[in-house]
Symmetry: C2
Subunit: 560 residues, 2 copies
Amino acid sequence: MKLRVALAQVNPTVGDLVGNAALIKDGVAAAAAQGAQIAIFPEMVLTGYPVEDLALRPSFQQASRAALAKLATEIDHSIVAIVGYLDQVVTTEGAGKPQNKVAVISGGEVKASYAKCHLPNYGVFDEYRNFAPGDETLVVRIHGVDVGIAICEDLWIDGGITAQLAARKPGLVIVPNGSPYERNKDDIRLSLVTGRARQAGAPLVYVNMTGGQDDLVFDGDSIVVNAAGDVIARAPQFEDGIMLVDIDMATRTSTPDVIISDDEVSLERTLVPGIAHRLGDEEEIWNAIVVGLRDYVAKNGFTSVLVGLSGGIDSALVAALAVDALGPDRVHGVGMPSKYSSDHSLADARQMAANTGLRFRVVEIQKMVDAYIQELSLTGLAEENVQARVRGTTLMGLSNQEGHLVLATGNKSELACGYSTLYGDAVGGYAPIKDIYKTDVWALSRWRNQVAREAGETPPIPENSITKEPSAELRPDQKDSDSLPEYEILDRVLKAYVDDDLGRDALIAAGFDKELVMRVIGLVDRAEYKRRQYPPGTKVSQRAFGKDRRLPMTSKWREL
Amino acid sequence: MKLRVALAQVNPTVGDLVGNAALIKDGVAAAAAQGAQIAIFPEMVLTGYPVEDLALRPSFQQASRAALAKLATEIDHSIVAIVGYLDQVVTTEGAGKPQNKVAVISGGEVKASYAKCHLPNYGVFDEYRNFAPGDETLVVRIHGVDVGIAICEDLWIDGGITAQLAARKPGLVIVPNGSPYERNKDDIRLSLVTGRARQAGAPLVYVNMTGGQDDLVFDGDSIVVNAAGDVIARAPQFEDGIMLVDIDMATRTSTPDVIISDDEVSLERTLVPGIAHRLGDEEEIWNAIVVGLRDYVAKNGFTSVLVGLSGGIDSALVAALAVDALGPDRVHGVGMPSKYSSDHSLADARQMAANTGLRFRVVEIQKMVDAYIQELSLTGLAEENVQARVRGTTLMGLSNQEGHLVLATGNKSELACGYSTLYGDAVGGYAPIKDIYKTDVWALSRWRNQVAREAGETPPIPENSITKEPSAELRPDQKDSDSLPEYEILDRVLKAYVDDDLGRDALIAAGFDKELVMRVIGLVDRAEYKRRQYPPGTKVSQRAFGKDRRLPMTSKWREL
């Protein structure tokens, strides 16, 4: 028998119970209007995800429960909705333990619920901190089909709750997710989904959310596979929407915990499923950052952003991303040349503005810089840094005056090495490219320009910003290469050390020069305090700076 | 029979395997010289604690194991040393899982080891992330006494590993700890220690470390109780040292896993144990902040600090703490009056310098402020903030020029409400009073002055700084009370909301005015992004901002 299943790949907002409930209601209505029997929403869609320590707050737990109860009465009664929410459970250890659950809603009430059993507590996840685990499978019968439910991490654990679920022989497995984007994670996800469907001997529906939440972005990429593990439908990456799929499934294969409906249905006209075009590597990362930035701006009530445009590649890339996220009218650029700026700095910044249509102005900083230098007798590094800090103060002043969110333009190579000025170029509410190594900054810029050329549009990023030698321009003829190894080699060492956590010996064994390794490691380890005060930005790698990599600031450990 | 036990209440440094090993060697030698049979060190003393994600790094795991093996051969062979370290275990799930362990060292080798079974993963702790739990008790026989070992959190869990250990009837229980200071935690600890000793029917030795590590400070407070739960010795809070205690214990009560020595000993002359004077509330907090600051400075290689002295109470308190931590020669104060500063601002700052002997200078900021205001046409809040940011840039410029660590002077009430300027008064490498509410800022200041008076010394903090009405002085006649409720009432709401996690309804039920509650909650929730970029500072409360309270920046949840 075929059932029509709606995969609601939606973008909830953390804490917005009313807005998220409306999103769910609309999704259910759209699914029902198109003849679906089941509408499946992502993990904790009602509260948004991840809620972090909000989960621990009894008032929030109660509000989520109340919102769910209200929602159940309000959504279309003819359809079964699978809705993630935060529950509060009474255990033998006391009242009020939070659980990450999904409710099965039908006929105006919650008919059953399932608590996530495997709680991720690595990388960016703190779920062992925030939730009490469940320990039971759930199978509900819907139109004669015995539907098993798992949540996100449940799927990733071999021999865990999904093995128990498989043993119950469900006719369909449903998996709501809050699975953040990481480069190449979609490939891993697919093979996981495929494997679990085969293990269960049933089709599997994987529903993931979209949208940005602080430093995470969710890429959607919802998937339906049949019992043999073949992909029969796959939703677009990073796009909101409801995907309807008619799925063949066996009936009455198990002993359900709850029977919601036992009548079989037949679909009048079955839909042809689609498999969305997969994004290329650069396109995927570009979309991740655009969505992460767009949602940070929108969900925090900003309408515009402000970027210092140095004429260099980092700020040009950030501006191009912002223009794609928000449109050129909502992107404000400021050129802030100093006496050490080259002629091309301002010219390239102006070119960027001309290419994209962003709003551009120039502020002269020399008067402020001179005032500090005279008053404080600054020299050397202190003089270099004061220029960056005058720019930071200028951006924040304009932000306070005009209401823009300031974007920090630092890349991952800089953050790794501490090659930035605290309260200078590091100021901002969001740092879009903080998880992008410098070599990838160039690659993304070239890719974006190429896309524009292929579409017959003006490439946003000035060619000179891409090709010129990188410089902070804080002293005469300064080049990044005065302080740092060449980025080609630096980034390879950084990826191995930061993303892959290799130690000194492993790095040397991988073929890197010993002296270089020791120099780079020393830079990274000593810059932890700077990273702690850096703005948030979209995670795209396997290990981003921030809650993904928690290291002490005070540490005498040197891999030396 | 009595054994002489040395409680090594020492201050290790995270990552300093060589330095910590030397500390342990010296401690063992001192204990042996004074006739001890057992020397007990804190949890993970060899690596320092907490090491956070360093625990996950194979190179660090291996370095800890190698350092332990080397240490075993180097320390006095006649004594048993109990030494915390990081181990790397091979499990069925793969090689290289980190464990938080203690080694029992004797005769030049590691005779046994115990892995922590209960891993705290709440508050500031991420141990479920960083370690694989152990699952077995350990009992070793030392001079005929069957000694059971537990580590820190093991002690806190009812019905857990210590219950299993109690069932094995040890003659002595040893508990190495890395237990961070929290206000009033010492009382809870004592009753816990007492209860577990009674449960085991054996004396219990609780050894905690001292010293600061980023935002944590360890208060020592090592304890020995007898089998009846009576305290027989207690070490001073916040002081390093080795406490020797002769403890009566029964022999051959259990079946040990390892026999290290079965010969009984008799002590020639037994020691009279001491119970250290307990610090009062303010004294305890004062010491916590002084030690936290002193160690952040020293362990990060700084020798001096720089504080902006506004003449207000917050910066005066921070300066007084810094003088106590480092001595007046290593504390540099800067007065940075603007046109909105009152006459008393500079006078009170000068008085502070005169009272303490700290190094003081004045920098005129008006020229820099005017340059920004003219160049950027700043008004209102933007003009207010630029003054704070010029001060921030000034402090950072002097820091870069002269090498001081800048101290941020914000208190917990300000942080809670976002009543500070990002990159302005919020700049700094360390923020000593970020976990102190404003009302406690006054209380601590009064207490410190009183201590000085009682000792016949000059009170450090100018009376006028304590008694004047708080003002940021960023516009004419500005008062904190223009923007915030009176601190007396504000702090009570904040404590209930932040420290105790009460929701709106619970706050109103507790008797707070509804409108006030909603106003305060709104302020706190909207300021999360500012707190994320704030410097670290010593945790003294049950719930400090930072890793103790992890909330999303992007959140539409309002307790309204």
